[in-house]
Symmetry: none
Subunit: 416 residues, 2 copies
């Protein structure tokens, strides 16, 4: 079964809002093993909506359209459906009664314009709407299962889960498509490719895709099978092979975040951390504390933006800052040691760098970042060279800092 | 000129990531007065990408495709372009040199697989890529202006702004659709509507739309005209009317962020601020320091996650925390005063709250947040009651804190 999602509304084309409806529908269908092959967004224009429906009917078995079912003159979905499917609109007395009833429950009279919503294309089934007034539409013909749902997210979600997915389950052959994402950081897409190229066989059951971002590259595995268990096993086996090839570059799977992984490692060891941030300005603290339960291991952070703060809070000698510069290996180490001592934690983590766009020099260009890590027996710093964009540099610095902690905790796992 | 945006990648159909690229492109084209009529997303499948290109060529004058330009076997855009436009791929020695050069700059050798990226369809122009390796593609024929850009957001954005928009400007007839966003916080969508309903006239030249989010409601104004200047004036006039009706609830326009506005107010007064964060864990610091030049007014932050840190760094008496609880008006005020004194800044800003999902009690439920502000003559705190979601609560708390500073600075503007 191949599906197309059509989302309707001018605002989707202006790009000022995110089309979260199509994401929800895409995720729901994929989880059912229905392959989504196209997504189309179209404005509030009757001819273009009709065209989108015509095109979708040539290439999909299931079409779900969202939006444009309201009562006003810019809600055009039903008119387009009538044109595309060549059916008349039929007035349904019992639907009108339901609409009147739902207004009565809220204690307000039904505006006359809502009468329109009792019109349904010939031969279509009305889908019930728990959270709103507009019924959805379901048309089943020889080629297509067509559904139209409202654009209001709560109404759309309820209708997809309670009306559409059950209808699809009854009709679809049993087939499963499972995905898994392996998340890496600190290694480039092409380096990953060189390491695992030999594992990728286009004729194989597990498909591999690379999703690069500036914080790392995700590797997406896709397995298909008539049996869910079988697809799962194929993913497990392939994941194992990739982990063997890439080692610690893989930090997690699917929705696991780097900060969650770091938190888990600290919790396992019952150890604590404190953070001293300069150019990241609080990003590392914000990420670590976004994990529920982080107060167990995150004791405090300091955002020592000024040199004075570095000296006063972290005991970094002003003379050291003057000699080596605030962005230096030496100062990164002293910041990490300083915050560890201040907070009496097992680890002190620090970041100092030139985020840009100003502040760079030939010796210390924009993008230069030092990450320091202090612990009981030692302290050290690593140098990173990022790019030109302030925001990206800050985020990459935070990612590199969290990854440094992760790698250190893994390496010293046995010593816990 | 009518445009279609095509985004390429299986992950867009599975619904696990938001298609922010098409939003950015949609917004950029709309701002240029180019009407976006369709958006299509398609997976990593050569036949379906080709079909999407074929369909788009029948209904759009401008096509921008994003994604699938990487070096690996699942990057299929160029192969599909070759099929749809019936052109061969030609190897370009000078593009290979640029690719090698960009690897050399990073100090790593070029993997062999990247040679592919020097192949460009016959007659196409290569678009330069400041942030990455893969060049974009521009094909101009009798019917269509076709552009392909990488899917990595930073590379895509740079290419749209520096290669595509200039090319389109040269070629497009002059008609202007201008947008302006007025950004509000601290007021609900319906309250805004009641205040400005009388200004909205559907027959008027300026269209109004409401874009609510959990950090505030944006009001989008749209004006069309054959003359850019004329549309601009209409927007200016309408903005003025809305500002009169809503007053200080409007904090900025378009890409102005709340942290930028706060920074500007502090710079004007040559004043400084320090921040003490508990439940926001660094979010406020991260936002304030994301503004280039923020070191002028942001002296430091402390993330006092533990009670010990509140006492030790901010001098909040342990006895006060015990009596009133760490989440209380009293502690918020003491934290703000403490960080102001510690950093010797003009303002001390603090946040303490129950972000959730755990830690709530009947007296101090999840979502309860206090924001404190200390300054030369006084200090005070405000209470906020947010919702159930940890992440949303943290972001709303950071927004409320920054807004409290903004309102205070505006009120005391004349006193500077």
């Amino acid at each position: 079964m191949k599906a197309e999602i059509i989302t309707i509304g001018d605002e989707l084309l202006y790009g000022q809002i995110q089309d979260t409806n199509s994401s929800f529908i895409g995720e729901s269908l994929t989880a059912e093993g229905i392959e989504v092959v196209f997504k189309t967004s179209v404005g509030d224009d009757i001819n273009r909506i009709t065209e989108a429906l015509d095109v979708a009917r040539t290439r999909a078995d299931v079409i779900i359209a969202s939006g444009g079912l309201g009562p006003t003159q810019d809600d055009l979905t039903k008119k387009a459906v009538v044109k595309a499917f060549k059916r008349n609109l039929i007035f349904h007395q019992e639907i009108l009664k339901q609409i009147e009833e739902s207004f009565r429950k809220r204690g307000s009279p039904m505006p006359k314009v809502n009468q329109n919503q009792a019109l349904i294309p010939q031969g279509a089934k009305a889908l019930s709407n728990l959270w709103g007034v507009a019924p959805g539409i379901f048309i089943e013909d020889d080629e297509t299962l067509f559904f139209a749902v409202p654009g209001v997210p709560a109404e759309m979600k309820w209708m997809v889960e309670n009306e559409i997915l059950p209808a699809l389950r009854e009709r679809k052959p049993r087939h499963f498509i499972l995905h898994r994402k392996l998340k890496t950081t600190g290694i480039s897409e092409s380096a990953i490719y060189e390491e695992i190229e030999r594992l990728i066989d286009p004729k194989e059951d597990v498909k591999v895709a690379f999703l690069p971002g500036y914080l790392g590259v995700d590797i997406r595995l896709t397995a298909e099978s008539g049996e869910e268990r079988h697809a799962q096993v194929k993913l497990d086996e392939f994941e194992q092979k990739i982990r063997e090839a890439l080692g610690d570059f893989v930090y997690g799977t699917d929705k696991e975040t780097l900060e969650k992984v770091v938190g888990k490692l600290l919790s396992e060891k019952k150890q604590t951390i404190a953070v001293a941030e300069s150019c990241t300005g609080g990003l590392i603290g914000a990420r670590l504390t976004n994990v529920s339960g982080s107060s167990e291991y995150f004791e405090r952070g300091v955002i020592t933006y000024s040199n004075q703060a570095k000296t006063q809070l972290l005991n970094v000698p002003g003379e050291m800052i003057e000699r080596h510069g605030a962005v230096s290996e030496q100062v990164a180490i002293l910041m990490a040691e300083g915050v560890r001592k201040l907070a009496r934690t097992d680890y002190g983590l620090s970041v100092t760098g030139v985020a840009g766009p100003t502040g760079g020099t030939p010796q210390k260009p924009v993008g230069l970042v030092f990450v320091g890590l202090a612990h009981e027996n030692d302290s050290f710093a690593r140098k990173f060279m990022f790019g030109e964009d302030r925001n990206v540099n800050r985020e990459r610095a935070a990612q590199a800092a969290l990854n440094l902690v992760r790698l250190f905790l893994i390496k010293n796992r046995s010593a816990a």
